[in-house]
């Protein structure tokens, strides 16, 4: 986790807002470094984490988390982390074998028109069976509120799922994890191309981004710098709090610039990069 981002979002592993739906988005950039932040943050906060890794393998996240000081392998063994490796699971759908006992979470690959109900069922059954239950097996550790991380939703659009189905899926995840179980949901969505005034782009990632923005309570939007490439500043992050804060501020927006290092990322106010000052 990145300490500067924690102070921006006013979160620590010991205290963070529950029931939040955090939307990470990027436009012609790569916001996946934020996924690693939230993954390590919630693992350190001793929450039980469900990770739908649809775009990268488990080893990828494991290697990066190692550099951030969190061991995913250990977390998985202890039962704190439930990892759905989308790439692996999709093989069992595309090349079905007789001895397959894996869940049908990625079943939408064979028929995208059906929607993401099976994926939601996987999440729901997994989360409610262990995260929300009070009875814990002997010797099992008690974990904090459930957290669902999805990386990323735009790949579902490329696989043929409609925007409406993805929005329904995120709605149900939010209803189950945030409202019912008081956990958090973090989802990543990626856009390429300029922000257009679409009039009927039904299958576009723009519509998905807008729909998710309406649903979420906190957005972090990553973009490149408007002035172009810079070696010391990798881009800008716009943080937008959509839900009512304690002091009555409804929508609050803040802009930061960031630089990704080997072992983290630093965030600073625009113009205050250490390369400039």
């Amino acid at each position: 986790m990145y300490t500067e981002l924690n102070s921006i979002l006013n979160t620590t592993p010991d205290s963070f807002t529950q029931g939040e739906f955090v939307l990470l988005s990027d436009r012609k950039s790569d916001a996946s470094f934020l996924i690693h932040h939230f993954l390590s943050l919630y693992l350190r906060a001793r929450c039980k984490v469900w990770f739908l890794g649809l775009v990268q393998s488990f080893n990828h996240y494991s290697a990066i988390s190692q550099r951030l000081g969190v061991s995913l392998v250990q977390a998985k063994e202890k039962g704190q982390l439930v990892f759905l490796e989308g790439l692996n699971e999709s093989l069992s759908v595309l090349i079905p074998q007789e001895t397959d006992t894996r869940s049908q979470a990625m079943g939408f690959l064979s028929d995208p028109a059906v929607g993401l109900k099976s994926l939601y069922e996987f999440v729901r059954s997994s989360v409610t069976s262990s995260g929300g239950g009070e009875e814990e097996a002997d010797g099992a550790e008690e974990w904090g509120p459930p957290v669902l991380l999805v990386d990323d939703l735009s790949v579902l659009l490329s696989l043929g799922v409609s925007v409406g189905a993805v929005l329904d899926f995120s709605h149900y995840c939010r209803a189950t994890v945030c409202s019912q179980l008081q956990g958090n949901v973090v989802m990543l969505v990626r856009c390429d191309g300029e922000e257009e005034e679409d009039d009927g782009d039904d299958e576009g990632s723009e519509r998905l981004l807008k729909g998710l923005t309406h649903q979420c309570s906190l957005t972090l939007h990553v973009q490149g710098l408007p002035t172009g490439f810079c070696r010391d500043i990798h881009g800008q992050v716009e943080v937008c709090w959509r839900r009512r804060q304690g002091d009555g501020q409804y929508t609050q927006k803040k802009l930061f610039q960031y630089k990704v290092h080997d072992k983290g990322a630093s965030f600073f106010a625009p113009g205050t990069s250490s390369a400039v000052l």
Binding site: H171, Y172, A175, S179, R207, K210, H214, Q215
Partner: protein, 296 residues
């Protein structure tokens, strides 16, 4: 116009609050719910997008007894075995049954949060038909709906707003938590009134109107700001006395082609050379007709 709309919608009225991803119209929706509850009306909320706790957050006091929340948030598509209310139940019979469940002497106000959810799953003609039937039906007195205008094609938004008697489009203002509300109100006589107002919503959901957007421009130049006079406290004189100003204005500038110079050139003085000119055929050279043989 916004306070008048808040004070009450006429019977059979249909109000739509249009918002976008940059500013959520749900706060204004809650203000309408709050003022309806204060008027001792029963309010039925069909909640698809937010949970009951989130919608009721901030609405306090005894009037909240008159707020009936119909949970379409936890399972709007029937993915579990016991859905409370699904989006496919959005039709006249089901809604009438839902509203009549609670016995209240006056017809209630129906709040739909949000119409966008329904429009994503049902076809716009069906939704419009149901809304129109509800308006004429008499089971509900008035309908208030929240619509995310950037989630649909403009044709769909236009069709649904066409049914409405009032449409409020909320757009954020750059600074602070204020927003601009563009209001269109159609009265029963057919008269259409339009207005634009800047408003902000306080914690207790009262709406404060802060004037019109056109007033915002000049107001931003702070009138209290003292402009320092740069010509004060100098060791040399930058001002002109009256005689000096007169002399300055009388001065003819050297390269300006004034009227006097023109007359001097046209009517040359005595003794200066005169130019006598007689038209010559060679001077009459037409660039477009050098041989002078075109019959144009």
């Amino acid at each position: 116009m916004l306070p008048e709309l808040l004070q009450g919608i006429d019977a059979g009225g249909f109000l739509i609050i249009q918002d976008s991803a940059s500013y959520s119209g749900r706060h204004l929706l809650k203000s309408f719910i709050n003022s309806a509850l204060d008027r001792e009306e029963a309010v039925h909320v069909l909640g698809f997008e937010v949970s009951e706790e989130e919608l009721k957050d901030g609405l306090k006091g005894s009037p909240i007894q008159r707020l009936h929340f119909h949970n379409a948030y936890t399972d709007p598509l029937g993915w579990t075995d016991h859905p409370a209310f699904t989006v496919h139940q959005f039709c006249l019979e089901e809604l009438t049954r839902l509203v009549k469940q609670t016995s209240h002497p006056k017809p209630a106000t129906l709040v739909i949060d949000s119409l966008s959810w329904i429009l994503r799953h049902l076809s716009p003609p069906d939704v419009c038909k149901t809304l129109q039937q509800l308006r004429k039906g008499g089971a509900v007195r008035a309908i208030i709906g929240l619509l995310h205008a950037d989630m649909h094609q403009s044709g769909t938004v236009g069709s649904v707003c066409h049914l409405a008697t009032s449409v409020i489009t909320v757009v954020p203002v750059l600074k602070g938590d204020k927003a601009v509300a563009k209001i269109t109100k159609r009265s029963k006589s057919g008269k259409v009134m339009q207005d634009e107002e800047i408003f902000s919503i306080k914690d207790d959901f009262t709406v404060i109107v802060q004037g019109k957007p056109s007033q915002l421009g000049p107001k931003q130049a702070d009138p209290k700001e003292q402009e320092t006079d740069p010509t004060a406290n100098l060791t040399f004189n930058l001002r002109l006395s009256d005689t000096e100003r007169e002399a300055k204005e009388k001065l003819a500038l050297p390269f300006v082609f004034s009227k006097e110079k023109k007359t001097a050139l046209l009517h040359s003085g005595p003794g200066s050379g005169r130019i006598l000119y007689e038209p010559d055929a060679n001077d009459d050279y037409d660039q477009e007709d050098p041989d002078d043989d075109l019959d144009v």
